[in-house]
């Protein structure tokens, strides 16, 4: 009879799981498979009009992506944003979390709220303010630089400065979220550890190096991976601030994908872009996990 019970149990389990599985299949797996299928066709505006014009093109979209200089630029820009913006964002968050968590700081809740505020505001509204800050002749930033004798910088108009400007904006906009996660990590470190180390005569730097950092390990991994994935998907910042310009210096892979897919309706090519980015993100995540695991052991 035990077999019958087990069968009934597993049947019940499937019954409970099926709505979730159905939704997941319908709205996640099916679109991904459809996207993969699209990426080996030349589905475009002609195909929407007349389905018989769709051709199977094998890997041509992928080959064209890699020979397309704009895609190369977009890849470089995206990596720039990930490699410079990502660590900057993580360390800013960590710094802010340490500050807010420091026992000497007053008005902690106030700072926590202030630092978190940019995360919950919409980027479109924030972008308007930042465009003013970055304005070459009337902007606050250049005004401040002028006071110390530095020539005005065309933040968003100069191809060399546009990406750093977006990184600054992105760090400011997002560091509050990771700060909260770091804060939770910091608060879960038992106070006894610090007490004991103080009794043993450890310095503040030593306590940070040997207690805080190792205890934050899992938090760090989580934050780093999530930040990296988020940064690979750079889209809204260039979309609202620069439209990918000047000279494509802020065109990210996702922005290019959006333009290809929803501006020019070359959905086959856009899907290929999506899968290339997906593979890159997968690989980067895997490398990061391996590195952190190697360090931990």
């Amino acid at each position: 009879m035990k077999g019958w019970v087990e069968r009934q149990q597993s049947r019940a389990a499937w019954a409970f799981l099926s709505p979730a599985l159905l939704l997941l299949g319908l709205f996640f797996f099916l679109p991904v498979v459809a996207g993969l299928a699209l990426s080996v066709t030349d589905f475009d505006i002609y195909a929407i009009g007349d389905f018989s014009t769709v051709r199977f093109v094998g890997l041509r979209n992928y080959v064209q992506a890699f020979t397309n200089p704009v895609f190369g630029t977009a890849l470089r820009n995206t990596f720039y944003f990930v490699l410079v913006g990502g660590p900057l964002s993580v360390f800013t968050s960590l710094g802010a979390a340490l500050l807010v968590n420091a026992p000497l700081v007053r008005f902690r809740t106030f700072f926590r709220t202030v630092f978190f505020a940019p995360v919950v505001t919409t980027l479109v509204a924030v972008a308007i303010v930042w465009r003013y800050l970055y304005h070459p002749s009337y902007g606050l930033l250049n005004l401040a630089l002028g006071k110390v004798g530095i020539h005005p910088i065309d933040w968003l108009g100069d191809p060399h400065w546009a990406m750093p400007s977006l990184i600054l904006l992105a760090v400011w906009k997002n560091f509050g979220y990771n700060m909260l996660i770091f804060l939770a990590g910091l608060q879960s470190i038992p106070e006894e550890l610090y007490e004991a180390s103080r009794l043993d005569g450890a310095t503040a730097a030593g306590r940070f190096r040997h207690i805080t950092l190792p205890s934050l390990g899992p938090t760090f991994l989580f934050v780093a991976v999530m930040t990296m994935i988020g940064h690979f998907q750079l889209f809204a910042e260039p979309y609202v601030m620069t439209q990918g310009g000047p000279l494509k210096s802020t065109t990210s892979v996702v922005l290019l994908m959006y333009q290809e897919g929803f501006k020019w309706w070359r959905l086959g090519m856009a899907s290929a872009f999506a899968f290339i980015l997906f593979m890159i993100m997968l690989a980067a995540t895997w490398i990061q996990m391996r590195l952190q695991r190697a360090e931990a052991s």
């Binding site: 459809a34 000047p246 000279l247 494509k248 897919g261």
Partner: protein, 438 residues
């Protein structure tokens, strides 16, 4: 993943559209026409539509106003979801795309039967943008073209009583202005982030921009090359600042300050210049039709604007045509101009003193007579974006003219591969391929 979101949005859009379609039916015995119009036009057309309904008590027109930024996507998703309106405003560079989608109704038979709406009564270049391989898909509603706005005082001080009409004299005038205004100010502003100027000069030099039935780029061919050299020369000589719109920030302020004396732009700026420039400058600015390579006849410009189209899926085509006809009447076109500032597409309307008395408007009338259409293919806007990318990199000194034009042809040829395949398929199936006519 982006794509799945897009498909989801598509499906959702279709569902919503279908839902709203059956929620509110017309009153019994009355035909309901659904009319999509964009931006400001969608707002002001309500007034004209109200009078149309009085004339045709059996028809109720439901105008849906769509912001320009969402218009293209909404029309496409509407088509995919089978919820297109009966009639819509359509930017005339979109017509090729929607006819490729098989979404819009050929209007030839309707035009033939019409007593009032006659192709000859429109600006020829503008009407032509609606004609693809001999088939008419839209009726011009209002028109748009680009010409020169300039500071008469600065041109006068440089020794020119009026705007020159050929490239050589035009450039001489710019040099004369530049000599007077010094290194910090310029003769002309040609926004580095706009493809329009390169496009217009190319057309003026006789380039077709594309060749072989619009299936390959013609950017390295002599006509375009000549125009491009002229264009880039203006930057290299320091006559035009190598900057984009965002770096100029406020065009009206800089124009008032004399940072530049000329600016190629469109009719919407007639109102803007009037409102934004200080009072003491109002007598000092003028408009002029563009100079041509050899003389005024060659000074062509873009045939822009919006048309009215009927969708294939419409169940009330006769009524939709009545509305198109009504909005095309010269009186209605003129009323629409007074409401919106959009220039009328019917030439009869230009006899009205509101337009013919003001020399700034008269220049537009002249320029519209020389408006020509760009290649009418669905990929055109994508081609334009590529022209802009390459032109900008030459202007900003990141590439040479040779390599930029070669890259432009190469990229455009990759882009148009599908078109070549479609043409080949048609040829093999025995269908004639009409010669592209501009």
């Amino acid at each position: 993943m982006r794509l799945s979101k897009g498909l989801g949005a598509l499906a959702l859009g279709a569902m919503l559209a279908a839902g709203s379609g059956c929620a509110r039916g017309p009153a019994p015995g009355r035909v309901e026409l659904r009319f999509w119009a964009m931006g400001r036009e969608g707002e002001v057309v309500q007034e004209l539509v109200a009078d149309f309904e009085k004339l045709h008590p059996g028809i109720h027109v439901r105008v849906q106003q769509i912001p320009w930024s969402a218009a293209h996507e909404k029309l496409l998703t509407g088509h995919v979801g089978g919820s297109t309106p009966d009639i819509s405003q359509l930017g005339n560079t979109w017509i090729a795309e929607f006819s490729a989608l098989n979404a819009v109704e050929p209007l030839g038979p309707w035009l033939e039967r019409s007593s009032d709406c006659n192709p000859d009564s429109f600006f020829a270049g503008i009407f032509d943008t609606n004609r693809l391989e001999g088939v008419v898909y839209g009726v011009p509603w209002y028109v748009d073209t680009r010409l020169l706005f300039y500071r008469r005082d600065l041109l006068g001080e440089a020794g020119y009583a009026s705007m020159p009409t050929n490239w050589k004299d035009w450039r001489e005038a710019m040099r004369a202005i530049k000599r007077r205004v010094g290194p910090k100010r310029f003769a002309i502003f040609l926004p580095a982030n706009e493809p329009t100027q390169a496009e217009i000069l190319g057309l003026q030099a006789g380039s077709t921009l594309l060749k072989d039935h619009d299936s390959r780029g013609a950017f390295q061919d002599p006509p375009f090359r000549r125009a491009f050299d002229f264009y880039i020369g203006l930057f290299r000589e320091g006559l035009a600042p190598p900057v984009g719109n965002s770096e100029i920030a406020n065009v009206y302020q800089e124009f008032a300050k004399g940072t530049f004396a000329m600016y190629i732009t469109g009719p919407w700026n007639l109102g803007q210049f009037h409102d934004q420039l200080p009072a003491d400058l109002q007598g000092k600015w003028a408009t002029a039709a563009l100079p041509g390579p050899e003389g005024p006849e060659g000074g062509v410009s873009l045939a822009g604007g919006s048309s009215l189209v009927m969708f294939r899926g419409s169940k009330h085509k006769a009524e939709a045509w009545q509305l198109i006809e009504y909005l095309s009447q010269p009186e209605q076109q003129l009323r629409f101009y007074h409401l919106s500032g959009d220039l009328p597409a019917r030439r009869e309307a230009w006899r009205d003193t509101a337009l013919s008395a003001d020399p700034r408007f008269r220049s537009f009338g002249v320029q519209l007579g020389r408006a020509v259409s760009t290649p009418k293919i669905p990929e055109w806007e994508n081609v334009i974006a590529k022209i802009q990318d390459q032109a900008e990199s030459v202007i900003r000194g990141a590439a040479s003219t040779d390599s930029a034009l070669a890259a432009l042809d190469r990229e455009v040829n990759v882009l148009l591969e599908k078109r070549r395949w479609l043409l080949e398929r048609r040829r093999l199936s025995g269908q004639p391929v009409a010669e592209a006519k501009r």
